[in-house]
């Protein structure tokens, strides 16, 4: 299992599969399936021309980049020059990017082909893929169910084979949650590892761009291309380029993997059963399983929604109706409006101490708790989403929707990394195993994910 990307790349590099043909395949697949899945909201008309150009370059002896002709879907909150970065919102429905985000510059320089812009929850505010102004996305791995969110289109596109890899963003689980529901691989990198320059904000202190892929190798490869110090922004970790694909197959012999009883408390037993089996399998592969204490984990949820709302309120002040079409409050969906109003309220002078400051204190508490646990183990393994995805169109209260995020939020609050790989299924619906690692622990996380994937 898990050889799709590696094999695809080899045939592209060897010429066994032409880059133009690869783009045709993606476009055909999108043509055939997108009407039902709704994973893309804009197709890049220049994709074929670019494929021809790269092919020509390689034919004339030019060096093939690391992503050599792979087709990439991009979440609609990342600026790609000439394409629309709508954030799946009416506010930005006509906003055409005037510049490339730094991750886009990086993937283009490695010969990636951007195939189009993915659907998403509006402004990344959602965990179901249903809040897009361009309609909900279906789950190709469990039709009729939500694909998860907010990187709904990016996950569904990969799951449906419409593109080879995709870029999503993760603020409280928005890569890991849909990766889990769609049965693919997703990774939220350490905060500050991947440039955010050009990413339209949900919450600046939590947002991180990361890869979605059918397999662990693809995620590692895409991460390798986008990660590393960025001179072009303030908040960046001083990290040199690292190869995440190197050593990915080293296995889990002797790796210390933490689990927590807290996960069981918060998770649907059917989901937990799949996870228990997965962890048992890792133990069987030679990993040492260690119980770690995460007593305050669930407190992250409230703290998260307060912090997100305040930062989101601030970030959306520029959508004032003067420069980018319509004023956000006038045209946005309920969840976006709810967060703006909440953020505007709790950042007021009289409420700051009561809500925002306390939320920041809880954040510090969660960070410490996870850091302490990760001193005792190499990674922590557990479920990604506490319950199975609901059927599209089911009415849920905001709190019920928020509850999808219990297990993914802590990694964002702590700034650590976390990846998801398919653990198994419950009644045909995928369930993802989440592997969380310390800051800059991506190599270990990917290695554990790969060991699990390879053993299936």
């Amino acid at each position: 299992m898990g050889e799709v990307t590696r094999e695809k790349l080899e045939s592209l590099k060897s010429g066994a599969l032409s880059i133009v043909e690869n783009v045709h395949r993606s476009l055909d697949r999108i043509e055939k399936m997108n009407r039902d899945i709704n994973a893309f909201i804009e197709i890049n008309k220049d994709a074929l021309a670019r494929a021809e150009k790269i092919e020509k370059k390689i034919k004339h002896g030019g060096k093939a980049g690391k992503l050599c002709g792979l087709t990439i879907g991009v979440k609609s909150n990342i600026n790609v020059m000439g394409l629309r970065a709508t954030c799946a919102s009416r506010t930005l429905e006509d906003y055409v990017s005037t510049y490339n985000a730094d991750v886009i510059k990086r993937i283009l320089s490695e010969d990636a082909i951007i195939i189009g812009m993915n659907n998403m929850d509006e402004f990344a505010c959602g965990s179901s893929g249903e809040t897009s102004a361009f309609g909900p996305t279906d789950n190709p791995a469990a039709l009729g169910h939500i694909p998860g969110g907010s990187s709904s289109g990016s996950a569904a596109a990969v799951a449906a084979g419409m593109c080879d890899l995709s870029l999503g963003t993760d603020t409280g689980g928005s890569i890991r949650n849909p990766a889990s529901h769609c049965g693919i691989v997703g990774l939220k990198p350490t905060y500050g590892l991947v440039p955010r320059q050009g990413l339209i904000d949900l919450a600046m202190s939590l947002d991180q761009i990361g890869p979605l892929s059918p397999d662990v190798y693809g995620a590692a490869l895409l991460l390798e291309v986008i990660a590393g110090r960025n001179e072009n922004e303030c908040i960046t970790l001083d990290v040199d380029k690292i190869s995440y694909t190197d050593g990915i197959d080293e296995g889990v012999e002797g790796v210390r993997i933490g689990t927590s009883s807290k996960f069981r408390e918060l998770t649907d037993p059917a989901v937990m059963e799949v996870i228990d089996k997965a962890i048992a399998r890792l133990e069987g592969l030679g990993a040492e399983i260690v119980e770690v204490d995460l007593p305050n984990l669930e407190k992250g949820l409230t703290s998260y929604y307060l912090i997100v709302s305040v930062e989101f309120f601030s970030a959306t002040r520029k959508f004032d109706g003067r420069k980018y079409g319509k004023r956000i409050e006038d045209v946005c969906g309920d969840e976006v409006l709810r967060r703006i109003l909440r953020g505007g309220l709790i950042s007021k002078k009289e409420y700051r101490g009561k809500y925002y400051q306390r939320a920041l204190q809880v954040r510090t508490l969660i960070r410490r708790e996870l850091m302490d646990a990760l001193k005792r183990v190499d990674v922590i393994a557990g479920p990604t989403v506490p319950k199975l995805p609901h059927r599209l169109g089911t009415k849920l209260t905001p709190m019920e929707i928020y509850a999808y995020d219990y297990l993914t939020i802590p990694a964002n609050l702590a700034g650590i990394c976390g990846g998801v790989v398919k653990a198994g299924e419950v009644k045909g619906i995928p369930v993802g195993l989440q592997i969380q690692g310390p800051m800059l622990g991506e190599k270990d996380v990917l290695r554990v994910m790969r060991a699990f994937e390879a053993s299936r």
């Binding site: 970065a85 320059q197 600046m204 072009n232 303030c234 004032d320």
Partner: protein, 463 residues
Amino acid sequence: MKVLIGFEVHQQLMTNQKLFCECPTNYQDVAPNTNICPICTGMPGSKPLPPNEQATNSAIEIALMLDCKVIANQPIFIQRKHYDYPDLPNGYQRTSLPIAKDGFLEGVRIREVHLEEDPGQYDPTAGVVDFNRCGVPLVEIVTEPDMHSPEEARKFLRRLVRVLEYSGKVRPEAGGAMRVDTNISIEGGGRVEVKNINSVKGAYRAIKFELIRQKSKLERGEQVIRETRAFLESQKITVPMRVKELEEDYRYIPDPDIYPIIIDQSQIERIRAKMVEAPHIREKRLMEQYGIGMESASVIASERELADLFEAVASEVDPKFAATWFRTKLKKVLNYMKIRAAEIKFTKMQLVDLLKMITNKEITPEQGEIVLRIMAKKPEDPRKLISRLKIVPLSEKEIESAINEAINENKKAVEDYLKGREEALNFLAGNVMKITGGKADPREIIKKLRKRLDLIQRGESPK
């Protein structure tokens, strides 16, 4: 009635690049919306670069000149101050927490010094915004309410402007570079804040108006409410700001996209070692070191370049003589010709030569002034200038003969003087000046005239 007045002063810092991006700062020299990029126009997804170090260092230097304690070795967060206005592309302005505190200038305590970004320029009539200025760094200086009259406030503000100019770290041109908010309260009344002031003169007028307004309210037994008012430059009055502007809550949050500034002690010491001596300190030193009076020292220290020139000259000629000359003649010529000390083109040695010629009585001080005027226009060796213009002091003989001529032709004035009318002497001296074509030293003439007339008085004939 006890009056309390304080200020918040904003001034643009002189840097090459904006505070959070690499766009140039010469916003007045270029066509609208040309010095811009995704960062300073707040395009969706753009993130700031780290704060411009040149701006931070400039603010630190100014803070040190104001005798502030710079906040060392702890995080100084950049805050987002949210408000909705067309000139603000992000919907918030970035402003730092204090980078320095507890300073002192001329009897006024400086509460704190901040760093912020300037918004763009909105033209409400045309409905257009120019973002060239957006992101230009500002230093904000907040004082304690330590001034007690409009005059005191004006004096302080002038002194503060002088410190800022001295630092060489602020944008010199007047073009709206300085912005002042002031708060005024009278014992028994609420604190009133006045915004929208653009000059020292404006601040003086706004405060004067406010004191009259508040005093008459209190005298009538009415209340002075705590409020924010706007100064209307054209009418020289203050008016209440719209209620909406008052209710504004800026919802400050630390900007998550920027690491806090951390200033380390060695950085402060490096700046301190090279920093410009503050004008009020220099003024005192000039008085002590050169034994000159307060009035001269104050004139000399009014501009940094003038003080530099003085100190260069004072090592070559008698400092007291030089000081008097700077205060009277040099300042007069500069004012008259509307040139700033920084724009002086003649060299220190040319000025030294000129002053030496005067002290050696090769030329009179009046002739010196004429030479200076020409030198200020077009620098030249004063000695050459004198010979070219044929400026030479008259010989004793020529002066004597001119005096004789004046006395002989103005018998009436002579009689008047002898009867005790002092003004007649001035008349006669004027006559002598006319006869000599202005080449004689008037003080010398008066001295000689008086001596001669006294001789006549005593019935002695001239020798």
